[in-house]
């Protein structure tokens, strides 16, 4: 008797390992949008985001046999996509802004205060996230948009859970203060 199995990541990965193109296509359909959105928000360039996602699935096709934890395929894909996107950012800027020193200002350049008057709502938040430094932007993207756990984000970024926790807090604080979200409840400085 044939039993219908759900298309879990493990089942699809097993199909990819066997050379099944349908499994590969189904897995791509599952992750194309979140991976592209993550890479696009990380690189702020459509072409680089597209290349990063393409490279990620190239690596999946090439090294599916070597993935030891099929249950964590999502984390694996985000990890590869993140590395590809950061490599593209490095090639663009030549200098790598990544550092674990949390005492630096979280903004890439200027604060997005001027945008508050011209834009509103989610658009401002998205732009403000885009102005964060890479190490803060990537953790806030993975946490807020992908709803990954601290442990998963730590694995993707190669950091400790404590560092992830601290970066998320600092990114939130910077975003919130810039967007004046905390002002309502503040009475005295």
């Amino acid at each position: 008797m044939h039993t219908v199995q759900p298309d879990t990541d493990e089942v699809l990965l097993e199909g990819i390992r066997a050379g099944d193109a349908k499994s590969f296509a189904r897995l791509y359909q599952r992750y194309r949008s979140p991976l592209y959105a993550f890479c696009y928000r990380l690189t702020a360039e459509k072409a680089k985001a597209e290349d990063a996602v393409h490279e990620s699935f190239l690596k999946l096709a090439a090294s599916a046999q070597n993935i030891r934890t099929p249950g964590a395929l999502r984390t694996w894909l985000f990890q590869v996509a993140r590395n590809e996107a950061l490599a593209m950012l490095r090639s663009r800027r030549k200098t790598v802004p990544l550092s674990d020193s949390d005492d630096e200002a979280p903004w890439e350049t200027d604060t997005p205060l001027s945008l508050l008057e011209s834009k509103n709502g989610a658009e401002i938040v998205e732009h403000a996230i885009g102005r964060l430094k890479t190490e803060y932007r990537e953790v806030i993207l993975l946490r807020e948009f992908e709803e990954l756990s601290y442990a998963e984000i730590a694995e993707i970024t190669g950091s400790s859970e404590g560092a992830v926790r601290a970066r998320i807090f600092k990114a939130r604080k910077a975003l919130g203060e810039t967007l004046h979200l905390f002002m309502d409840g503040r009475q005295t400085p």
Binding site: Q5, V11, E14, G15, I16, R17, A18, G19, D20, A21, F24, A25, Y28, R32, S33, P34, Y36, A37, Y40, R41, K46, E50, V53, H54, F57, L58, A61, A62, Q65, G121, A122, E123, V125, E126, I129, R143, E144, F145, S149, Y150, R165, A166, I168, F169, R172, K173, L175, G176, L179, L181, F182, M183, D184, G185, R186, Q187, T188
Partner: protein
């Protein structure tokens, strides 16, 4: 606790990554601190705003690029669920289809049970030997009468 200590915990709290012990300390502080109340409300409000941000559309060209990636099959497709058996002589992982494994185990158990049954069967050792006695020769020696035949007892 000070605001500097509490606000990172608030951030962890809204991510559901805060222990119950820390949570009680945080709420004890928030109850009397308007700054941290504002931080909590602002963080929650920001999450709501982020949730309204639409995902960027995936370029149509990406689909074609990715779906054209060739896959290199390394072995024959197995339609059944695959399980891994860890541990072997060289610490390698054997990959066996579940139905084949179940059939093999069943055959092994049945064969073992049959062998044991045949080996331990009491009928195997207890061969019945039937001895037919047609009669005992009666011998009279020096006038003494012959011994009583089997089955006859003197009172």
């Amino acid at each position: 606790m000070t605001c500097i200590e509490v606000q990172p915990l608030i951030s962890a709290f809204i991510d559901a990554h805060l222990s119950s012990e820390d949570a009680s300390s945080v709420f004890g502080h928030i109850g009397s601190c308007s700054t941290c109340q504002g931080f909590l409300q602002g963080s929650i409000r920001m999450r709501a705003m982020i949730a309204r941000i639409p995902s960027p559309p995936v370029p149509s060209g990406l689909d074609a690029r990715v779906l054209d990636i060739p896959l290199a099959p390394h072995r024959i497709t197995r339609p059944h669920r695959i399980i891994s058996i860890p541990g072997s002589l060289w610490q390698q992982r054997l990959r066996v289809p579940l139905p084949a494994l179940a059939a093999g185990l069943t055959l092994f158990i049945l064969t073992t049970a049959l062998s044991l049954w045949l080996w331990l069967n009491p009928l195997r050792e207890a061969k019945q030997e039937v001895v037919y006695v047609f009669g005992m020769p009666q011998v009279e020696v020096y006038g003494i009468p012959a011994a009583n035949p089997p089955g006859e007892h003197k009172q």
